[in-house]
């Protein structure tokens, strides 16, 4: 039982999103009505958060670059939208249809996750990035060339309209479900195995971790949630066009993950909200030729943040002005020091970024504590 401040940290994102959902939801259910553009923004934030969190699973925790995340979303959007369009006449345009469409979209995307997960077992780094990029383009091109009756071809697939007033509540509930699954996956034994593979695949294999299983599982999970986001997209946009799910959208999701800090779920959520808002706000300010400044901003975010976070030459600078560590220190200070000595508490504070060196240093510290105690006993 640890209900101290550290544990609450784990649930803060559920709490915030949950409270937001309940407040906005009860306003809607009580008969209040939000502006349509705000509702659309909220829905967009919903599926972008799901996308960012699910991509973070592959990029941040598995340490592989996926440039085809929008491709998985595309599969989910088309399949989910199609299933919904087929079911609406018989089942009505309600939650049942939506749930079936959601499952269908997620399952279709998950199958694609398997297809991409298999090359991921043999390839790493640059090659895998290119394969995922290729996958995204293949999916785009396949859906673009479908006939009008099946998936609508270049014009796109028309999807059923859902009552706009309530869709954002569903989106936020799905965000909560995504968070629950992803965070529990990462904090479980499986998640530790995934981060071990990221840090050193050969060492992980040597310690008996089933690399094949975890890589595939992570890809499938990530793809399935991208599919969920796709179904949400299809309900939110009434029309699914494959051209929207190109390389650029995949990069946009990557920008969210990088801006939020790789391997930081809360960061990804904040970045997804911020970028979604920027995407709707900036075009109103930057019109005409200035619109390109938005892409420039994203490019600079990618370059500057990655260099700042990863350049070996900037390590001294990072240690000196590390805001993250500073915040962590402030939180730690409030906690009873006896708890920090607890090995489990340490794992909770740094759940994802633990490297081999850190594990060794923790062991050494424990040993010191142990020998100190022994000495104390003798005296």
């Amino acid at each position: 039982m640890r209900l101290g401040k550290i544990k609450i940290n784990h649930y803060i994102n559920y709490l915030l999103i949950g409270v937001l959902t309940i407040v906005l939801g009860s306003i809607t259910l009580a008969g209040g009505k939000f502006d349509n553009s705000l509702l659309f923004l909220l829905e967009k934030m919903g599926f972008n958060i799901i996308l960012a969190v699910s991509l973070s699973l592959v990029v941040g925790f598995l340490g592989e670059l996926s440039l085809g995340h929008a491709g998985f979303m595309c599969v989910g959007a088309y399949l989910g939208g199609k299933v919904a369009a087929l079911l609406v006449p018989s089942l009505g345009n309600g939650l049942i249809t939506f749930s079936i469409a959601l499952l269908a979209g997620a399952a279709a995307a998950a199958i694609c996750g398997v297809i991409i997960g298999i090359p991921a077992l043999r390839l790493r780094g640059d090659y895998l990035a290119i394969v995922t990029l290729a996958f995204g383009e293949i999916v785009k091109s396949l859906f673009q060339n479908t006939s009008d009756e099946s998936f609508g071809g270049t014009l796109g697939l028309e999807t059923p309209r859902f009552d706009r007033n309530y869709l954002f509540i569903i989106a936020f509930v799905l965000v909560l479900i995504t968070l629950a699954v992803v965070q529990n996956y990462i904090r479980s034994k499986h998640g530790r195995a995934v981060t071990a593979i990221r840090d050193n695949e050969i060492a992980a294999r040597a310690t008996g971790i089933n690399v094949t299983k975890y890589k595939l599982l992570t890809f499938i999970l990530s793809a399935a949630f991208a599919g969920v986001a796709g179904v949400l997209y299809s309900y939110s946009n009434y029309r699914v066009q494959s051209a929207k799910f190109g390389y650029n959208y995949s990069i946009e999701i990557l920008v969210m993950v990088v801006l939020g800090g790789m391997g930081n779920i809360n960061g990804s959520i904040i970045a997804a909200v911020l970028i979604t808002w920027l995407n709707t706000w900036l075009p109103t300010k930057l019109t005409g030729d200035l619109a390109v400044l938005q892409n420039l901003l994203y490019a600079l975010i990618l370059i500057v943040i990655v260099i700042y976070n990863n350049a070996p030459g900037l390590k001294g600078f990072r240690d000196k002005y590390n805001f993250g560590a500073l915040a962590k220190k402030l939180i730690m200070r409030k906690v009873d020091p006896s708890r920090i000595n607890d090995d489990k508490a340490k794992w909770d504070v740094v759940p994802t970024k633990i490297s081999m060196d850190e594990i060794l240093s923790v062991d050494m510290k424990q040993q010191e504590v142990y020998t100190d105690r022994k000495r104390g006993g003798k005296d």
Binding site: L123, D126, V131, L133, I138, N295, Y298, L300, V306, A311
Partner: protein
């Protein structure tokens, strides 16, 4: 018969462009061990530079100046974006490279606008051969690409700098211990790669005389496919892969049933090659060491 011949020739000239880009990719990948996503966009910058310098009305001068401009750009990119990340995780380098690619595209749009620009470098005209019309520019493209390939192979094999490149590509730290200035070698590699990109930009303009800010993105990715098919790090491999890919694209465009799926077919070939033979046709196998 004529149609087959013209398809093949078209494939060869397209393949020449891909091969030229793939040569740049393979040089940089072989030595710096990084996928330079911005390579395609250096082609675009080369195209714009040719457009700008064509104001001199001297194609050769414009090409030369564009090459110099691209070399400066490539070296700057390497110094500012990639060099600080040497020794960092490959993921970080890859993401930065994507960022650089995006940056170049949006800067080009800011400077030149989003509308494409027409630029006619030189009218080569066409010749008749066995009853079909052949653009002389395709022959020029092929000839220059082959010449560049031979020159690069000679350079890598027989000059001090080239041998140093091989050493760096095999083992960076051991090369450093042998007194090779690794930073300088990588800089020169980027310079060569960027010059090749400028030439690729020229060939692109000879084939389709339009410059726009995303013109390098797709050919860049496809040329990487070509480099992988031929075996990344291998100079003749890049040539082979480029020609093969050009042929596939040209033939696929001719067959009406599969024409819309051309991109999908090329990328499927890439995935299959990566799965079945990740080292490509002419690449060397590398064992992963602990």
């Amino acid at each position: 018969m004529e149609e087959i011949l013209s398809t093949l020739i078209n494939g060869l000239s397209l393949g020449g462009i891909y091969a030229m880009i793939a040569l740049g990719y393979t040089m940089v990948y072989g030595i710096a061990k990084m996928l330079n996503f911005a390579h395609g966009d250096v082609i675009m910058v080369g195209g714009y530079l040719i457009y700008v310098f064509m104001a001199t009305n001297n194609p050769l001068l414009a090409i030369l100046l564009a090459c110099i401009g691209c070399v400066i750009l490539g070296v700057c990119i390497e110094k500012i974006a990639y060099k600080p990340l040497r020794g960092a995780s490959p993921l970080a380098v890859l993401i930065t490279a994507i960022g650089v690619s995006y940056l170049l595209q949006s800067l080009a749009q800011i400077v030149f606008g989003s509308a494409s620009k027409m630029v006619t470098v030189y009218e080569f005209g066409s010749v008749q051969l066995l009853g079909c019309t052949i653009q002389v520019s395709s022959l020029v493209t092929l000839a220059v690409t082959v010449a560049v390939m031979v020159a690069l192979t000679m350079f890598v094999k027989y000059t001090r700098m080239g041998r140093a490149m091989i050493a760096v590509s095999e083992d960076k730290s051991a090369a450093q211990l042998m007194g090779i200035n690794v930073d300088r070698i990588i800089m020169v590699t980027f310079a060569i790669g960027s010059a090749l990109a400028a030439l690729a930009g020229l060939f692109y303009l000879l084939k389709a005389p339009n410059v726009f800010n995303t013109m390098g993105a797709m050919p860049g990715i496809k040329a990487f496919t070509a480099a992988v098919i031929g075996g990344i790090g291998s100079i003749p491999g890049a040539m082979l892969g480029g020609i093969l890919l050009g042929m596939v694209e040209s033939v696929s465009y001719k067959i009406t049933a599969i024409a819309p799926y051309t991109d999908a077919i090329e990328f499927t070939i890439l995935i299959v090659i990566l799965l079945v033979r990740p080292t490509g046709f002419l690449g060397k196998k590398r064992r992963e060491k602990v």
